[in-house]
Structures are given as C-alpha cells and as structure tokens.
C-alpha cells in the first residue's frame, strides 16, 4: 500500500493486481502486474516518485523485478534476473529513479547489481570499500537518485554517489541488525542548483526507538523515537518517509518532519551570527524597540551593500518557518529592510512568499492536514495543491485560494465549482429540483462551467432527472444533445438540436431517434419539429426515396410527390419505368388538382408514345428529345407529314412552326424549298430570320431574295447583320433615319472609313435641320 503523487491510494495484491483508490477510499481503477506476479505471487514491492509520475516496482516469487514507470499509464517491464538468485531472496534492493527510466539496485549477499529496463544487469563495486561484508542488508537511494547508501551486515554504512564512483565516507554503527528503515534526508531541490555541500545530505537509519543521522563527513546525531506502547518491544512502530527536502516521521500520535536547517534560517538564528539576514532581523527588532541601534545595523548593511541579500534571506527564512509568529517576525524584518531597497525582484519575492505562506498556513491547519514546506509547495505547484484540496472535497478553501491568487476563472474557481457540483449531484438526500437550482445559483456567475460534465456525473450516480434539469443550463448544444440522447431522451435531444440551429446535430439526433424508436412513433415525434422534418426529408431524398414518397403521401403533399415521380422518370433510362413513373406523377397531379401539371404530364406521355412510334418507323432515335427537338428531327429527315401531325397534336403555334421550318430547311440546304416556303404565307415572324439562317448556313447568295421582304424599318439592321455595310449605309442615308445612321456608323469601324464619312455627313445634315 502506498500513496501516489496525486493523493491516490495504491494497493498491490499478492496476485499482482493493483487497485487504486481515492483519498476517500473510493475505488478508482485497477491494473495487473502480469502473469509472472499472478503465478508466483508478489513478494515485495516499492513505490517511487519519478519524473513521469508515480512508479512501482514489484518483486515476484521468482525474485524477478517488474517495473512500472507510471501507474497512470501502466506498462509492465520485466527486468533482468539477478545472477545467482534462485532460491533465496536478494539480501536487499531498492529503486534508483532516473530521469526517463528507473532502475533497480539489488544485492545478492555481497554483490550489487544494477538492473535496467533494457534487460541488462551489471555488477557495481562500491569504490574504496574497506570493510569486508558478507552481505548488504539494506540500501537506500536519495529522492533525486544521486546518492546511495549501503548498509552491511557488519554494521558499516557505505555512503557514496549512486554511480558508485565516489565515496563520501564509511561509517561504522557497530550494529549488525538489519535497520528497520534506511533512507536519505537531503534537500534535493537546492542540491540540484548548487554543488552539493557536505551539510545538505545525511543518511538516516532507523532502528526501534533510535534514529541515527549520519552526514557524509561521519558526523552523526542520534534521536530517540517514541514508540507505540502497544507494539511489543523490539519492534518498530514509526514509519519514515523520505520527502524531497527532508524526512517525515510518523509515529502513533505525532507527525514529525526532519530536515536540514535551511541556510537562510541558520544565517539568521545562529548564535552570534553576523550574516546580513541576522543583522537585518536585529535592526528590525531594535527599530521596534525604538532604539538607535537599528540605524547602526542598517548602516552596516547599507555600507557593505548587503541589504538586498539581507531582505532576501529574511524572506526565504520566513518561508521556511512553520510557526506564523516567527514568519511574521521575519517578514516584518524583510519589509523593514525592503523599504530601503527599491527592487522589483525583491518585491515580487516578498509578495509571492506572503501569498504562499498564507496558503501554506491554511492547508497546514489540522482540519485540512496537508503539512507542506514552502519548497514542497513550489515543487508541487499551486494547481496541484488545489487539485488535492478538490479531491479532498475542501472546495471552499480551494475556491478561496483561487480567488486570492486571481487564477483565471476557467482554470480556477469555475473548475472548482464544477467539481463541487459534480460532488453535489452525487448526494442523494436532496431532491432534484432544489439541487438543480442550488447548482445553477452557484454556477451562474462562473464562466466556462460545463453543465454537461456535471450532468454526466449525475447520470453516473443514477439521477437522470437531475441530469436532464442540469442540461437545461448547458450552453453547448453538442454536449447537451449528446448526453440527452445517451439518457434516452431522444425527442428532447432532437428539440434541443433543432433549437441550436446546428443541422449536423439535428441530423445525428434524427438518426438516433430513428434507430431507437419504431417507425410510427418516430414519425409522430419528427412531425412536431418542422425543421427536423424538413431535414429528414432532405436526407430521405438522398438516401431513401421510397420513404420520401410515403411521407409526402401521408402529408397529402401531392405536388411534391408528383415532382418526385418526375424526378424518377428522368433518372431512369428504361422506357417502361419512365412511363410508369409519369403515370404516377399524373395521378398525383390530379389528386393535387393541378390542371397544368396533368396536362403537361399527359402531353409528355403522348410524346413518349409518339417517339416510340417514330423510332419503330424510322431508324432514328428520338430518346431524350423535347417536343421542339422531335419536330426538328423529323423535319431535317424530311418527314414533313409526321411533323405536321405533331404540330396539330400539340397545337404548336405558327411562330414556332415557322422558326422550325426555316431553321431545318436552311440546315439541310434546301434553299429552294425555303424560298417557296417564304412565299407560302405571310411570315408571322418577319423575314429577318430567313436572312439570319442563310448567313448561318453559308448561303449569302440567298440573302437578296429576302431583303426586299424585310420591313422598311428593319432593313438596315438586316443588311448590317449580313455584313453589307455599303448597302446599309446607302439605305440609311436614303431613308434619313437617325437611328439607322447611328447604328451603321457604329458598325463601320476602321475598314469602312469612306462609308463612315458619308454616314457622318448625312447625320450632320440631319441634325442641322
């Protein structure tokens, strides 16, 4: 059993099953360590905090090590076997956390092996070892993985660097018992930045009732540990845990923290210290006593230029202190000094320290019980602390911290509020309506709160109605709809989807509704939503045409239905199907009492029939031709009679008829016939078309025949169209028509300069008159 860095409880069962619980003992998730553990049982395990999160190493019954770097993303790696370990467990082992991968140190009697993830195993020999042990019975690696300590059965401790290349010292305890716990007490945060000084690290050995602290220079201190009276003597009851800047000692009724006295604190409070911090502290004290010594101390600092350092030290010392009284003392000293140093950096430091201390003091309160040092807080970050508070349901404190630190709402207060709401919905003793209202009231002012997430929690705890009520407040339609349909409220989901105006949502809601309900229910539901209905029609048009027609029929929407049928008839190539569809369309049109539609469709049917007839009689294909094109086709294939027949049948008016005749005659080059046709009757469309057609089909010689027939006013433009500018100009000058002259002039252009001059002259004359 151990805690992860997220404050989750991790339990490893003998069969390799890892169960993770939250701080309230509620089960979160589980994973397994693999077959090896299941078959051979887990003998021992160790949890460590590496850079990737919380890791776990287990030793199986075959004395094989299994490593998980991060329990949030459990991947079990099997490490190499330790040589010579067959029947006896290793005499000692520990985890060496690394930056990317962690390794395991294992000792088999007096051999030390380093096992890494690549399956390598290499023997390590501690440098300069003078003692001659038969086995290493305990070992410890510092939190940052830089130092290692080996405890030998002779009672000697070898202390050195973790790569075994450097030996700090050997210390003989003269105690051959296996220590209850062996761990490092070091300030890993500061030693990262500074070259390690001898003072910063120490190895702590714990036997029942005794705690031995040994520094790298063989200096040592012995503390006694209070033992639980209920535990038989000779057994240890306290538990030690290495933290990043010290060691926590948990006994039955105490929680002690053992750490090196921070430099800043030491500088100030060391007896007779003349460090800048101490001087400033004294100056502040004297100042409060209204003594002139204050000025003296202050000057001393100012003269040496040490005041900024002094302020910094006092601030840092305050941060390192646990008692508010001393914090206040030091902070006031710092603030006293700061007023003589204009430095933004120091001000920032001071302000941050004050803020952090407030938070620290708040969480150190026994009701909350998170005892942290300033350094730990810094490492943990505020956000992480807030997470921890939230997971302990200390919503109010977390909320206040966020407000106090002015953390942006979406990361801070809103997030906490939504966590609070999630928790709130799980309480089943309040009724839904008031619960929903309470949540709404609280969350109204907060931005970026996802009601959908809260509602989802409510669903998880089986409170559907509450969830639906909460979803009312969700502004993001997508989430709202998704959850509503998850809840089986498809109709409501559809309504919301339609209201959102996002048709994609509406489509998906429709589809889901369709899947879950039977057809008639579905139709009833969807008809109540006009927009949804419209969308459904569209999707039917693309995917399910029969459905579309049925819908139109049910709605008595015969016009739409008729057009669906026409659409069908146009998209098929088989004549029988086409006729069938058209008959259906005809039926619908008559139901809709659309006379025009009926007539048009009847005509089309007739035309199809005629076309088939013609096709049988001639070899020509009339497929896809319109009535106009059909007649045209007949005319150019010299089937005047049939064309006439069609003309009568479809009441083709004279104008169209003439156009058709002229065009087709010119097209097949029967200009003689064209001429006789022109004489057959007075043309209802004038004689200009004759000229146009002659020009089009390359018979300019035919043109003069018709020029005379063109009415006076159009003659000039006719001539122009033919390209006979000269004749046009002459005519225009003759008739003295302003418009015609103008038109001619425009057409003259460059190549007819003389004509242009003539026309211009005529124009001038006319205008003068």
């Amino acid at each position: 059993m151990a805690w992860t860095h997220n404050d989750d409880l991790l339990c490893l069962q003998e069969d390799g099953q890892v169960l993770i619980y939250n701080v309230f003992g509620q089960f979160q998730r589980s994973f397994t360590m693999g077959k090896d553990c299941r078959d051979n049982k887990v003998m021992e395990f160790e949890v460590f905090i590496g850079q990737q999160g919380t890791g776990l190493v287990a030793m199986s019954g075959l004395f094989r090590f299994l490593l998980v770097n991060n329990v949030d993303d459990p991947k079990v790696r099997i490490l190499a076997d330790v040589p010579g370990l067959k029947t006896t467990p290793p005499s000692s082992w520990c985890v060496l956390p690394g930056s990317r991968t962690s390794k395991v140190l294992a000792a088999n009697d007096n051999d030390v092996y380093l096992l890494d993830q690549g399956g390598h195993c290499s023997q390590q020999i501690p440098t300069g070892l003078t003692a001659n042990p038969s086995s290493y019975i305990s070992m410890a690696v510092s939190v940052d993985g830089k130092h290692v300590a080996l405890y030998m059965n002779t009672g000697t401790i070898w202390i050195g660097s973790s790569d075994f290349q450097e030996k700090y010292c050997e210390f003989n305890t003269n105690d051959g018992r296996r220590p209850k716990q062996l761990l490092w007490c070091c300030d890993s945060i500061t030693s990262n930045t500074r070259r390690l000084s001898d003072r910063d690290i120490a190895i702590v050995v714990y036997w029942p009732k005794t705690l031995l602290v040994v520094g790298p220079k063989k200096d040592w201190v012995r503390y006694s540990v209070e033992e639980d009276l209920n535990v038989p003597s000779g057994m240890a009851s306290a538990v030690l845990s290495a933290d990043m800047d010290g060691i926590r000692i948990v006994t039955v009724n105490r929680h002690d923290f053992l750490q090196h006295v921070p430099n800043a604190v030491e500088g100030i409070f060391k007896v007779g210290s003349m460090a800048p911090g101490a001087l400033l502290n004294d100056a502040a004290k004297e100042y409060n006593h209204q003594s002139e010594k204050a000025d003296e101390y202050l000057r001393m600092l100012l003269d040496n230029g040490q005041l900024p350092e002094a302020v910094e030290k006092c601030t840092l010392a305050a941060a390192a202190e646990f008692q508010p009284r001393i914090q206040k003392l030091l902070l006031s000293a710092a603030s006293f000094g700061k007023s003589f140093v204009p430095s933004i950096k120091l001000t920032d430091l001071f302000v941050n320290t004050c803020q952090n201390l407030r938070i620290l003091n708040a969480v150190r309160d026994f009701n909350i019980g998170i005892a942290l040092t300033a350094a730990q807080l810094q490492h943990l970050t505020i956000n992480c602390l807030i997470d921890r508070l939230v997971s302990r349901r200390e919503f109010q404190l977390a909320f206040h911290i966020c407000k106090y630190l002015k953390i942006p709402e979406d990361q801070g207060s809103s997030r906490i509020l939504s966590h609070w709401a999630c928790y709130k919905v799980q309480q089943s003793n309040v009724d839904d309506t008031s619960n929903a209202r309470a949540i709404r009231d609280k969350l109204q002012s907060a931005r970026g709160v996802s009601y959908a997430d809260i509602a989802e929690k409510a669903v998880e705890s089986g409170r559907k109605d509450l969830a639906i009520k909460l979803l009312e407040f969700e502004p993001r339609a997508a989430e709202q709809v998704r959850l509503l349909s998850k809840l089986g409220k498809h109709t409501l989901a559809l309504e919301k989807a339609v209201m959102s105006g996002n048709t994609d949502l509406a489509y998906s809601a429709i589809a889901r509704l369709r899947e879950r309900t039977n057809l008639s229910e579905f139709l009833v539901a969807i008809r109540q939503q006009p927009i949804a209905y419209k969308l459904y029609l569209k999707s039917c048009r693309e995917q399910n045409e029969q459905m579309l027609k049925d819908l139109h029929e049910q709605e008595d929407n015969f016009i739409e239905l008729a057009h669906c049928h026409i659409h069908d008839s146009c998209s098929t190539f088989r004549p029988e199907d086409r006729v069938m569809s058209l008959h259906a369309a005809l039926d619908s049109f008559s139901k809709a009492r659309d006379d025009f539609g009926v007539k048009a469709t009847e005509e089309q049917l007739q035309l199809l029939r005629d076309q088939t007839n013609f096709e049988q009689q001639t070899d020509h294909s009339f497929a896809e031709l319109s009535m106009h094109d059909t007649i045209h086709e007949l005319l150019i294939t010299n089937q005047l009679k049939k064309a006439e027949q069609l003309r009568k049948q479809y009441k083709v008016n004279d104008k169209r008829w003439w156009w058709l005749r002229i065009q087709s005659l010119a097209e097949i080059g029967s200009f003689n016939e064209l001429e006789s046709f022109s004489k057959s009757k007075k043309s209802p469309i004038g004689y200009l078309p004759f000229i146009e057609m002659c020009m089009k089909y390359n018979a300019p010689g035919e043109v003069p025949k018709y020029i005379s027939k063109v009415s006076q006013e159009k003659r000039v433009s006719a001539l122009l169209k033919v390209g006979n500018v000269k004749a046009a100009a002459d005519l225009a000058i003759q008739t003295r028509n302003l418009v015609d002259l103008d038109m001619t002039l425009k057409r003259c252009g460059v190549e007819h300069r003389e004509i242009a001059e003539q026309v211009k002259g005529a124009l001038m004359q006319l205008q003068r008159r």
Partner: protein, 523 residues
C-alpha cells in the same frame, strides 16, 4: 495494409460518419475536419467559394451551411474584434446571427483585441434581391465573368483573346494595376482608357530609343520590367474587350443580341412594355436560345412583376417545356421554391391557390416548403418590387440621360438603369446606423430583419480614435453569393462616402451560375 485519411471540408457531418460506418470502413482517426474558411480573392473580397449553399439554403431550406457561415464570422471576430453593429435582412441572416452568438458563447470569453477594427456588419440574404444577379452585367469585370467565367479570381482566356494557340490563365485582382483601374468601369469607358494607356506605354518604349546609354541602363533595370508586365496585361485586356464587343454587337444564334437583351431588361426594370418583353421571351423560347438566358429573362420578368399571372406563367412554362424538355418541370418547381419564378395570386385562380394554401397549412404540421409560403407572403404584398424600388429610388425616371463617363451614383453598374437593391440597403444601413426609418421598405422584403447596436452611451462618450476609424469600416456579408456588379457598386459607394467596405460572401455568382444551380441536372 494501406492507411487512409479523409479530410472533410469544412467539417465532418454526422451523416457522413454514419454512412462510413454502414459501409464498414469507419475507424478512429479516419476523418479530420479541414475548415478552410475564407479564401481571400482580393484586398476587399473574401469568399467561402461555396456555390452549393445558394441551392441548399434558399431552395431546400437546409441550413447546414449556415453553420459554416456563422463559423466564418466568429473567426473574423476573433481576429479583428467583435463587430459592434450588426444589421441583417433575411431568414438565413437571422439564423446566422443567432448561430454566431451561440458559437461565440461556446468558445467562451476569449480575449479578443479590445479595439474592434470593423464597425459594421451587414448580413444580407440573396433572396432579398434576386433582381440584381438576374440582370446582364455591364461592368468590365462583370462582363468577363458573364462571358469567360471567373473562377476563384482566375480567368481562363481562350485563344480568341490571346490570339495565339494557347489559352492563358490570369489572376484578376488589384495586383494588376491596369485591371484594377478598369475592372469596375462601365464597359463603354474601358476601351478609350485602354487605348490611351496603350499610347502611353508606346511612348515610354519610344523614349528608350532616344536615350543616352546611361539612362537606358536605368530604364532597363527599373522601368522596363514594369512596362513589359503592363504591356502583357494590356494586350490581354484589349483582346478580351474585343471579344466582349463581338458578343455585344453581333450576338450569336444561341445567345441573341446583347443590346436587345439589355433593352428588354431595362424595360422589365422600368416596368414598361410588358407585352413586348413577353413576346421577346417567347421568341427566345421558340428559337431555343441558350436555356439559361431564357430562364434568366423569365425569372427577371417574374421578380420585377412580383410573380407572373397564371395565364402567362402557364403559357410560358408550356412553351418552355416544349422547347427544352419535360424534365424542366422540376426546374420550374425548384425556381418556385426559391421564389425566383412564381405565379401571382389572382384570388380567382382556385387550383393553384388552394394548393399553395394547403402547403401553407401543412407547414404547421411540418411541411418542407416553407419557402413557398414565404414567397406566397411576398406575393400577397402585391408588386413589392415596384414599391421598394420607388421608395429607395432604385430606378431613375425613364427618359433621364445618364452620364456614364462620370457616374454620380451606384446605378452606373447597370448603365444607369438600376441601382442594386442590396447595395442601396447597405448604404442606408451604414448611413442610418440601423434600419430605422426603413421599416416600410423592409416589410416588403422576404425574411425578417434585425439589428444589434452597441451601447449608444459608449459612443456618445469620448471614444478612442481607433473606434472612430472602425466606424468607417463595414463588412458586408452576402449569404448566397454576390455579383461583380454589386462589388463594383459597393466600391463606388465606399469611394464616394469615404468608407472602407469589405465584402464577404459565400460565392461569387452571376445570373447563369445562380440559375444553373437550380436547374435539375438529372442526367
């Protein structure tokens, strides 16, 4: 096994996922959204380049794309600050507005730059003004679009323009200084300018002949490249203009004479010579002119007269079907849904009206055709186009001469015959800072209108100078597309009033592209 990835533009729809799932090819990490957003076509035009939107929103009533539109507005606002004043007209605009608000709130309070850089946003539905895109364009860029089709700001000039075998792809934007000078001109003013410019360039070339060696060196190093470029673009544009001229005067058997068509369009806009227009359209049908052209005139007829009389409607439809085929029953149906080509109500016409009414009733129980009813509502306001154009003085009195050389208002983009309704609305909205005073005009337009103004008090106070600047900048968003004529008109407006007008659109359209999206293409 090969791994595939699908990129959905602009976003993945649930329907796609479910289809993939049904086909058994759906997997995790298969689909990614690729939201392209706006494509900048020029310094003042950004476009979603999504022509399908017009059809799906205004005909089928499917608002899926509006989400994309709203998204694009949100994107703009996160970059340039929230736009304080928003005015909109139309059904889709309203939806976009509310979607924009929801999307913004979903995004949460992102720290947008405090100073907004755009003061006004005008959102307009295309169905507010169908008339403008239905008219033939007569500005240079508009003509280029009508004749050569500009695609995403690129035009493909064929051999007839380049006078060589190859065709040339050219970017059309303000980088080309020559083009930016002529793009928005009425076509009659383009040729004189081009020839003047040609002379100038020639003169510059000539100058080099008489130069000293030293001057020549600087000339070659500095000016020559620019001259050459200009020369190149000049050749192209002169070529293009010639082709346009050809179209204009000669016409062709498939297209008819542009002059005639313009004449008909003008009479339609003025509301004169109704019979002549109908006859002309009939002729178009009989001669089987280009279908889109015929359809365009038909729609224009319908839009300007607020729906055709049933007699004319049926007559023209009948003839149209005879000429172009029966399948265009569907095209007519689509156009009716979109409100482009409609039948007027005469009260006595029982069958159609009862059908429409039935549709209107069935809407309450969920009919698909709300657009028919909305156009029905528009129809009941008889002759709304005349009323609106009179109120906003869109159409000058017949007989007044219009100076195309020195245009005095936006009507020049249609040869002085018509001021685009959308542009007039933009002008009014910016001038009046809202729709106030225009209620009796907007009442006649389809869809509802809305306005969202910033707190006036803040404005009354000493607002920062950048705020003042921003109030001169307006973004106009066309849902369903914008034509180059409108762009030209808005540019003119901006120059005239000293605004800076940015245009956002879902696509650049012209009459043909707009209609062809409604034409049923079954085969």
């Amino acid at each position: 096994m090969r791994a595939y990835k699908i990129f959905m533009v602009p976003r993945c729809l649930h329907v796609c996922e479910s289809i993939l799932e049904q086909e058994g090819v759906f997997g995790p990490n298969l689909i990614e959204d690729l939201n392209i957003g706006f494509i900048p076509l020029d310094q003042d035009i950004i476009s979603l380049e999504n022509p399908a939107l017009l059809n799906s929103v205004f005909m089928e009533g499917d608002f899926t794309w509006l989400h994309t539109v709203a998204h694009s507005i949100v994107g703009l606002q996160t970059t340039f600050g929230t736009i304080p004043n928003v005015y909109g007209q139309g059904h889709a605009a309203k939806i976009v507005e509310s979607l924009t608000n929801t999307l913004t709130s979903e995004l949460g309070e992102k720290k947008s730059p405090l100073q907004h850089q755009i003061g006004h946003l005008v959102v307009l539905d295309r169905d507010v003004d169908y008339v403008t895109p239905l008219c033939s364009q007569v500005t240079y860029e508009g003509l280029l679009d009508d004749i050569f089709e500009i695609k995403c700001g690129v035009v493909d000039f064929g051999p007839e323009v380049t006078k060589t075998e190859k065709s040339v792809k050219t970017m059309l934007n303000s980088e080309d200084s020559l083009f930016s000078e002529i793009r928005d001109r009425h076509f009659t003013n383009v040729f004189p300018y081009l020839s003047a410019r040609a002379k100038e360039i020639q003169a510059n070339y000539d100058k080099s002949h008489s130069m000293e060696l030293k001057d020549l060196k600087t000339f070659v190093s500095s000016e020559l490249k620019g001259l050459k470029q200009e020369h190149r673009s000049l050749t192209l544009h002169i070529g293009a203009s010639e082709v346009i001229m050809k179209h204009k005067t000669k016409g062709s058997l498939r297209r008819g004479d542009l002059q005639d068509i313009l004449h008909i369009e003008h009479s339609l806009l003025e509301g004169s010579d109704f019979r002549e227009c109908v006859n002309y359209i009939e002729e178009c049908i009989h001669r089987q002119y280009d279908m889109l052209l015929t359809l365009r005139l038909l729609c224009l007829l319908s839009c300007t007269t607020s729906g055709l009389l049933p007699k004319d409607y049926n007559n023209l439809k009948h003839k149209f079907l005879h000429s172009y085929g029966f399948e265009h029953m569907l095209t007519f149906f689509n156009l009716k849904k979109a409100g482009l080509l409609t039948e007027a109500q005469t009260g006595k016409d029982t069958s159609i009206e009862s059908n429409l009414n039935k549709l209107a009733d069935s809407r309450t129980v969920g009919s698909a055709v709300s657009y028919v009813t909305s156009s029905l509502a528009a129809l009941q306001k008889k002759d709304w186009f005349r009323t609106v154009s009179k109120k906003l003085s869109l159409i000058p009195k017949p007989g007044t001469e219009y100076n195309l050389k020195k245009p005095s208002d936006m009507a020049y983009v249609f040869g002085g015959a018509y001021t685009p309704l959308t542009c007039r609305l933009v002008e009014q909205a910016i001038q009046r800072q809202g729709w106030g005073g225009l209620e009796d005009v907007l009442r006649h337009l389809p869809g509802s209108n809305f306005e969202k103004l910033e707190a006036r008090s803040a404005k009354a106070g000493k607002s920062a100078s950048s705020g003042e600047q921003a109030s001169k900048v307006a973004l106009v968003y066309f849902i369903g597309g914008v034509t180059y004529s409108e762009v030209a008109a808005l540019r003119f407006l901006a120059k005239q009033k000293g605004y800076r007008i940015l245009i956002a659109t879902t696509a650049i359209i012209n009459g043909n592209r707009m209609l062809s999206s409604f034409v049923e293409t079954v085969r």
